[in-house]
Amino acid sequence: MKVAFPYTGYWPYVRRGVERCTHDLATYLASRGHQVHVITSTPGRPRVAWDGDVKVTYVSQLNHPLMYRYTPMLRVDAFSLKATRIILREKPDVAHLWAYSGIRWASLLRRYAHFRYLFHVSVYWQMSLGRWWFPELKGANRVMALNSDAAEKVTAEFKVPCGVLPPPVDLRVFRPTVPRDPSHPKVFFPVDLADRRKGGSLLLRAWNRVHRECPTATLVLGGSLGVAGWLQDQRGSSALSHLGLVKDPAARAAIDLRGPGTLDSLPDWYSQASVTVLPSIDEAFGMVLTESLACGTPVVASEHCGPGEIIGDPSIGTTVDLRDDSDLVSSKRADELATAILRTIDLARAPGSRERCRDWASAWSLDKVGLRYERLLEEIVSESRPEPAPMRVAEPKELEVQVASEAPR
């Protein structure tokens, strides 16, 4: 099976959830003997590279200050044209489109060029604007979301069935690698520092109290630094510019700004941490939570959206009621977050915590999710043949139950 993954960002230039999910799924498919081609863009010179057995084509990226000011989505459209050319030339059996893959004319390609694709919803959007943002969704062979809440929204707005396919976590890579020091707990924030929605500023507010009550703790900021052009700290709105929210100099000195690190270093960072914190809103899934759990580290996150579905057991983490923007600047929520972090630090000290977390994460293991994903793609390919099989996509509720039943209680 020839599978294409067209998406504007990929490693090493962007390493957020979608890119990491693409990497895991592509690598899994390649390991199963499929031909996998990631079509992406680079700020540098176009080239073709290999990420293991996965072919990666980097097309040149459109970047200009005026473009980002007046027509920021032109970059996606420019990528889309180049990616379409490659798709038409290589004719993959199936393509995996993410929400911002940008192949807006994918449904036309399906009709006139026998293009088959899975559309994977990876973001939350403003209701009623979805049809404008993602016109290709409706014509997809399959539509999947990262959590059941998002799947329901898709069905409600687009009137198409939508399944749930969560991102996998590779338990062979993400595993407890180094011992944790409970006397010097590390609070790990492994997500984009320039993305306001990830709640970095709220965490910095909460850090004042956490450090006061646990002076030996360290806050490790190990996330990426934004996405060029779209998510960056040009106007000083992200956590990177808000380090001043930590008022106590000692608390500020206990912040370790590490940057995104490497894939190899991540398991160590998770393993060393006592708690991984993702105080985000509108989070479609929260891969860092499953990765952290796979490394045996409990987590703190919102009780809504994707994270709410992951943290279904108080013995593997703590949730906070974070719904919208107002929660990210609320001192009350900051206090609740601090309480949750302190509780989870204690949780990490409890015997058997590591094992419980890892067992819980096995529900999203690459072996399980990857197999489902492979079957899904094979269905798309086979049903498009002369004698198509009846479409069989799990309803959101059904999949939710399926995931929940796989998770250990």
């Binding site: 390493r15 080239r47 970047n63 200050p65 996405v227 700004l257 490497t262």
Partner: protein, 598 residues
């Protein structure tokens, strides 16, 4: 791209290629791309060193050390917390921490051939003098320190000033823009070339070269800009490229001074006992010089006789005027093919043992405190000092005299061979005096300036100290006949425009109205112009242009009483003849060197 290094062509690393290989996120990529010009400029300068040289980069970005590694340098990094390094560069980080902590630690035994400081000196809490003094201990004797800094004369700061904004940085108000290339360090000060030069000298370094560079691209391609802002950024960048003095960044190359250059300083706390360095007095000879007279004068010096020695060039075992035992100081006769000029001066300097050399000749009459004042002069930041030269009563004082053959009452940027002090080690390291162009007993005009010029170009400080005063006898023409002085003066006049061409600073100090060899040559030129115009236009009133000259020579040409008329005419004839020789020499020299001096 390739650059020429010591006659050998070396391929420069392409930062574009590097950026395609380095695993960094796109935000970091764009910032590195934005600051690529400065990284390239620093790499280009680093390439003066051979592969394998030890290079230390303080507060690096990603591309600079990566490029240096590609060029096979032995790279060490002092990484600041605010910076970003790729995982493959992290093992090179010998020190990690706050900038102030990094530069505050004491020196260890390891030495570096090159230390690179990109935007570091403006960010340290310690004064740059303190930082440079520490770093000097880390540089090998032939090594260099590259300082990249933001210039106060750059267009960005000028525009801020024009807009009424403060040009003095404030660490609280002026938060630096986020950067994933050069670490975001607070800018605590603004400084220029003069400050850096002063700090360097005090730290035992010399500012060898400084070039302005364009350190970044016009605009970061991922930062959204409106049309007005974008056009402004492009225009400003265009100005930076077109007018180097308006560039925002400069790269200064600092070299450690030889130990002697700072060991002798009066403020050197490590050398408190060294209050009386050994001085070598180098005496060059003249045909009409009186060595015995000079040695007698030196015997009366207030400087202790056991702290100086006198070196005299000697050819073919010529007779020595004073027996060695009769003088309170040591006299050393140095065999030399030439008794005067640069050849003798270099030979004497090489044979000297003193930390300081005092250059004079056997026509000089040094006053009693001459050595004391001279030694004091080179006990500061300067490695060469000169002083005033006055004419002794027995001098020939012709109506006009060319540079090098006349007294020096004030700073004329002329370092006469008869009254200049040097720090010997520094002078020798700089290569001594230029011996090219010497033919027989004739030396090129201004040969004694070649060494101070080179020292100044190498970043040392040289100066004029009016207290270092010395009398000298300017002799009458040698008894070789008229032809010898005529040819001598002609060639001196011929060489003057070339000298001015090579050393434009002399134009202001040495020339009258920046055009004429002397005020009297201007008056004579006016006379010639008046004569010519009167002949061409047949209008005698043009002759009035010569009145100035006639007025100037009135003392030398007595018209009254009539009995003196014959003497007056003879003098007038001599003056005109001398003027004509000069004018011919100056015009020929001006044509030859394409630099007009009249």
């Amino acid at each position: 791209m390739s650059i020429q290094v010591a006659g050998e062509k070396r391929e420069c690393v392409s930062i574009d290629d590097l950026l395609d290989r380095i695993a960094v996120t796109d935000r970091v990529y764009h910032d590195l791309k934005h600051t690529q010009p400065l990284a390239e400029a620093l790499v280009e300068r680093a390439m003066q060193f051979a592969p394998g040289s030890r290079v230390l980069v303080i507060a690096p970005n990603v591309t600079l050390p990566a490029a240096l590694l590609e060029l096979e340098y032995d790279v060490t990094l002092w990484h600041v917390q605010e910076g970003i390094l790729t995982p493959d560069l992290l093992p090179l980080a010998e020190r990690v921490g706050r900038l102030d902590d990094l530069v505050a630690q004491q020196a260890e035994t390891s030495r570096f051939d090159l230390i690179i400081l990109p935007f570091v000196l403006e960010a340290t809490s310690d004064h740059p003098l303190t930082v440079l003094t520490r770093l000097r201990q880390w540089v090998t004797p032939g090594g260099r320190i590259l300082v990249a800094y933001r210039r106060p004369g750059g267009i960005s700061l000028r525009l801020r000033g024009l807009a009424g904004q403060s040009t003095i940085p404030d660490v609280l108000q002026d938060a630096p823009a986020p950067s994933f290339s050069w670490p975001v360090l607070p800018q605590r000060r603004v400084f220029g070339t003069d400050e850096l030069k002063g700090w360097s000298q005090r730290a035992g370094l010399r500012l060898e070269t400084e070039t302005t560079v364009v350190d970044r691209r016009a605009a970061l391609s991922i930062n959204a800009l409106g049309m007005g802002d974008w056009l402004g950024a492009q225009t400003t960048h265009g100005i930076r490229r077109a007018f180097p003095p308006l560039r925002d960044c400069a790269i200064a190359e600092l070299a450690p001074m030889p130990k002697a250059a700072w060991r002798l300083r009066r403020d050197n706390e490590n050398e408190l006992h060294l209050d009386r360095p050994l001085v070598s007095v180098l005496v060059t000879r003249n045909e009409q010089g009186r060595l015995d007279s000079l040695l007698e004068r030196l015997a009366t010096q207030s400087y202790p006789a056991d702290s100086f020695e006198v070196l005299v060039p000697e050819r073919d075992g010529a007779s020595r005027p004073v027996a060695a035992g009769k003088l309170p100081f040591r006299v050393l006769y140095v065999p030399c093919a030439d008794l005067g000029g640069p050849v003798a001066a270099n030979a004497l300097m090489r044979a000297a043992a003193g930390d300081i050399v005092a250059l004079t000749d056997d026509l000089a009459f040094p006053p009693r405190g001459w050595l004391d004042i001279g030694v004091e002069g080179v006990s500061g930041m300067d490695v060469a000092v000169t002083g005033r030269l006055t004419a002794h009563g027995l001098s020939a004082l012709p109506f006009i005299a060319l540079p090098g053959a006349r007294p020096i009452p004030k700073d004329q940027d002329w370092f006469p061979a008869s009254n200049t002090f040097y720090i010997r080690e520094v002078a020798l390291e700089a290569g001594g005096f230029d011996e090219s162009g010497c033919t027989g007993s004739r030396y090129p005009l201004g040969w004694e300036n070649s060494l101070p010029d080179r020292l100044r170009a190498a970043g040392y400080s040289v100066r004029f100290e009016p207290l270092i005063q010395l009398e000298r006898r300017f002799p009458f023409p040698a008894p070789g006949g008229r032809r010898s002085w005529m040819s001598h003066e002609f060639f001196q006049a011929f060489e003057l425009p070339g000298l001015i061409s090579r050393k434009p600073r002399l134009r202001r100090n040495l020339l009258w109205r920046r055009l004429f060899a002397a005020r009297r040559t201007m008056q004579f030129d006016l006379l010639l112009a008046g004569l010519t115009l009167a002949a061409v236009f047949r209008q005698p009133f043009w002759l009035a242009l010569g009145l100035l000259w006639l007025f100037a020579i009135r003392r030398y040409v007595p018209y009254w009483p009539l009995s003196e008329l014959r003497t007056g005419i003879r003098n007038l004839r001599g003056i005109v003849f001398r003027h004509l020789i000069w004018t011919t020499g100056l015009v020929a020299g001006s044509v030859w060197s394409r630099r007009l001096v009249l």
